[in-house]
Symmetry: C3
Subunit: 467 residues, 3 copies
């Protein structure tokens, strides 16, 4: 069975750790000073295999990282670096493109400006697809590199305190990362620039799927004082029963911890993950934050940062001081270097060159899929909104039950929406989306609004036929 990596949830924790172990092995060869430079890391495991990169958005760094990894494995590469030279310009759909290109390569690496676009590619592919970034959605291989760096620096991912700085709204590396951190039991402390907090659907999923407990804005503002306004603090218990750890344990010198955090939880920051303003994702007219956080040597003088690894997915602009480059806490160039062994291991896993790293199928989805066609994704950057893709692509959602309503999460871009009404196909009745379901009925219908329900030929529950 062909496996893909579209979101970080496409790998189990065990699979991620298996990939990291192989990455360790590759890294050793790449960096071994005993090995003559010209054969460092030269492998022939992927001999005869071709990896194709298909970048509908500009990137040299990520593309080179994949291509270098494939070469180091002994394989070959096909490059499409420029969105304008692809047949998409002639109006070709993603499904067609991937069904053609899979004849030319054994694994496809795709970057696309639309959220969910690479999931569509995977749905039509017979070869492994790797998401190298889809709009503001996810960037799972960056997350693998980030987690790998953290684990090598700290020995573990569990119980780490990780501060996330900057543009958490649009930074897709951040979205993949928080899910990864949560799954491995690290604590996430978001420190966004004003107005650039984690998107609501990401926050909700952190709580629902990974049991993260958010602090209130008031509590949060006490963590960093008034220097940078922050949106929220999330602490991630490894397991649900550990949730008790996070309440009312006082901590010396930190008001915040009086409220929820465990003793000393924020006295020591294990890593600062800094991100640039994603200027290319701002709506037209928006110019960015008034005061974008800048992390530099002066900032890191605070005792709690004494052993913080400073990370950045790069490229940086001005949010990370050059005066940190020779600081031993700065690991961002190492983080970039780890891109090669981690991607080598991932490619080896997906191509089954290392046959035992991945299970037969992807991790099971916990939620039921909804395909009745009564809902469209409301995210304007979702791939389902592209007119070319609407020729063949049906909207699909996961149904997420909450205590008093159902959410619909787009299968492609993973944005949530709250249908205003729910109905049943068998009764042709609909009612407000205001109650819990213990079991989701097979013939459930979801409607964004009343009009949609009426259009489907349904009538409201407990209203007279004459309306």
């Amino acid at each position: 069975m062909v496996r893909h990596l579209i979101t970080i949830d496409d790998l189990t924790e065990g699979e991620i750790q298996a990939i990291f172990r192989v990455a360790d092995e590759f890294l050793k060869d790449l960096a071994d000073p005993q090995v003559p430079h010209r054969v460092r890391g030269a492998k022939s495991e992927a001999q005869g295999c071709i990896l194709a990169t298909l970048f509908y958005e500009a990137s040299t760094r990520t593309r080179f990282s994949f291509e270098s990894a494939m070469y180091r494995l002994g394989g070959q590469i096909l490059s499409s670096a420029d969105p304008k030279t692809t047949s998409a310009a002639k109006g070709e759909t993603i499904a067609d493109t991937v069904r053609v290109l899979q004849n030319y390569a054994d694994v496809l690496v795709i970057r696309h400006p639309c959220e969910g676009a690479v999931r569509v590619a995977a749905d039509y592919a017979d070869v492994p697809i790797i998401n190298a970034g889809d709009g503001g959605h996810e960037h799972p291989t960056q997350t693998l590199c980030d987690l790998y760096t953290l684990q090598r620096e700290k020995g573990t991912l569990k119980d780490l305190n990780v501060l996330l700085w900057g543009d958490l709204r649009n930074g897709r590396t951040v979205h993949s990362l928080v899910y990864g951190l949560a799954r491995f039991g690290a604590r996430i402390i978001p420190m966004p620039a004003e107005g650039f907090g984690l998107p609501e659907h990401v926050v909700r999923r952190l709580a629902q799927d990974y049991g993260c407990t958010p602090l209130s804005n008031d509590e949060v503002s006490r963590v960093r004082g008034d220097k940078f306004p922050v949106d929220a603090v999330y602490v991630t218990p490894e397991k649900p029963h550990q949730r008790s750890l996070f309440s009312d344990v006082p901590e010396k010198g930190s008001e915040v911890l009086k409220v929820r955090l465990p003793a000393n939880a924020l006295a020591k920051i294990d890593a600062c993950y800094v991100t640039r303003l994603q200027r290319e994702r701002l709506p037209e007219g928006e110019v960015g934050a008034d005061s974008y956080p800048v992390i530099d040597a002066a900032f890191l003088k605070d005792r709690r940062y004494r052993s913080s690894s400073v990370m950045h997915p790069l490229p940086r602009v001005e949010e990370l001081g050059y005066d940190l480059d020779n600081d031993e806490r700065a690991v961002y160039f190492k983080q970039a270097a780890y891109g090669v062994p981690v991607r080598m291991a991932l490619i080896a896993a997906l191509l089954r060159i290392r046959p035992d790293l991945l299970g037969q199928g992807p991790p099971a989805k916990k939620h039921q899929v909804y395909t009745q066609g009564t809902l469209g994704c409301e995210n304007t950057r979702c791939v389902t909104g592209l007119s070319s893709e609407q020729r063949y692509l049906e909207p699909r959602f996961l149904i997420i039950p909450e205590s008093d309503r159902l959410l619909a999460r787009c299968v492609y871009c993973e944005h949530d929406m709250i249908p205003e009404f729910v109905g049943r196909l068998s009764t042709r009745k609909f009612e407000p989306n205001r109650r819990a379901f213990t079991d989701i009925p097979e013939d459930l219908l979801l409607f964004a609004d009343e009009e949609a329900a009426l259009r489907r030929g349904c009538s409201p529950v407990r209203q007279k036929a004459g309306g």
Copy 2:
């Protein structure tokens, strides 16, 4: 002797079949499920060889197809994907570019927006040149894939009924294809969108060089009724003496065949070759056809399409329904997949890795070449019209004798023109181009108009000196 593939006529039928036999062998390796995925098709025949792609027009698909083929043969690739990054932007000529780049690669694959441009490249190259599409002229490797697909699907090319749908005016894949079909004895039934019929010079050449017999418009309109207006139907006899087959043989249920077609000729369509509107080749202001034909499952319900292979050079836009994707008649993705083994075989032939596939020289041209410099090509998209190329490129024509006149066919873009006058260098006389020549005189002169003749110092035949 170095061989090139610029038009499909650069290969004999025997050479094409030889390439197909090698492609069969490669395809077997590529698709063999017994061979582990990572070594499928891995060859070392082209080890140490470099193929360079030089695409002055955007394409990922065709470029990847060539590059993948070269990798599968064991060779290496150089890519120039973007027209704007070439030295053509600095004003370099095609002749210079190719004379430099042939030092860096062993075979060059060129796509260019100007018709005839790749022939110019071949004229100056010491390494094999492959035309990957030159404007609206030809795309011979696509044709090899098309013919290969047809032959694999149908077992033969002879006597097939092939309908061509869509933009036959600008689709270069179509122009190469009709010559190929004609040579192998298939029947060509053009079904263009209104105003997008085969160019006049293509029609003329089908008749002159390959003995195709056109039906009249009236006759044709009866083939497909009034659903789509069509320009002409051509039927291709395998040999001239078979022409008698095509007259006055009645056919049940088809009025058209009362006139010219053999019994049952159109009762069974072997293949529908669908093409998109070549929007990028429309003159500014032209928007396309009012009713562009759309081939979908409903359309193909007609009994005559029961076993029609549905082909498309891809990318498709809206002219080919997604509801056909799982129809077993749909072979367009297979057609794309065959691009690799066919191009592997072609490269192996041109590089003489498989030394016996191609003869020493190209097939002989039947017509005499005219280089007196009195004519210029009238095709505005011909490479001879580029100011950069005029620094060194002389217009050259083949002289095509018709029953009552001479045509001049541009050696580069292969457009025909009808010189208004013909003359002789020895007599310095000219006369209207209105008679047959049994032998073309050595000192023949051709003139587009009277002014051109007078400019060359010639005077009209049978007129008094005083005019």
Copy 3:
């Protein structure tokens, strides 16, 4: 120790000759007709190594030449052909880019529009960096090819008369070349289009660093008559004591040689190096020269050109006649072909695949480095003027003592400037830059103008405190 090639001065004459000897060996393999075509030049010396090209300016030719060389050595390539697809578009600095990309490749080839940019890259790299052209500054690998071609054609570089035609102001290939020619003892005779002479700083350095003796404009105008106005003639003695050779030796038929040139010096021209107008480097509004020199067969009929090798870095536009293409003096396509073996040898040297070609460190700089931060480079195309690079890049200069003043030469772009004032940090005094220094004081300060000196807290020498 990692070696780079940023300017031609980064290699000693001995190292250049060593590279040429290895290039000879590679050329023999590449061109050997006994070797089957497909394995010509196929090496495995660089197996497992990756060369990355990073071209912030468009080029197919130079990029392919490097990539082909790497393939012929048995290595692999990563390509970034298009400036717009790099992370520079997101605001990344050169230092960051190179620190990331060196993890993905073993040698980086960089072309950049800013002068000095590739030196910055080398300052931050742990892998060898090759300059493939930085603005109008240098293009040292082209110079290696040029010198190699000359040496193969003429057997030596010493005492050759080399005419340089065209745009000597903006042609970076010319700037690298004149230093190379001077070092190997060739005579340089610049023949620029009007207004396109060698930049002043290049002329000055030819005289100061390489002992070239310029002729006056009057003298020069007699060399070529009034056909093309020229700026200057430089003659390069091999050793300083040979300078006496160049004065007052009369020569038959050449007035100019009455003054300075040795007997017959210009009676025989060994090579004409022709260059195109570098249109892309003209300031906005400037359109080029009124009469740009055109070298063609007619021009070369003069007896002195009887055995002149005609060279051109290509691409040509109109300055070099196509009527020379079959002339045996035309070596420009051979010059392009030599790009592969020369670059193979260079890569082998830098990667230490051939371990004994290069010394441990680069040739020592003769001049002292100035880093006091009181001066900025005045060259508007210098990399130090880029706002992105100013985040971390300090201006640095070499101090060049002249008989009556000090010059400051930017370490990056190598433009000279003349500080108006010099001062001392210890005395906080400054004075006009109008005297010779036998030893440069450790605490020297250089000021572009009085304001800069006052801003640094210095006061003028020999003026009363009350001023």
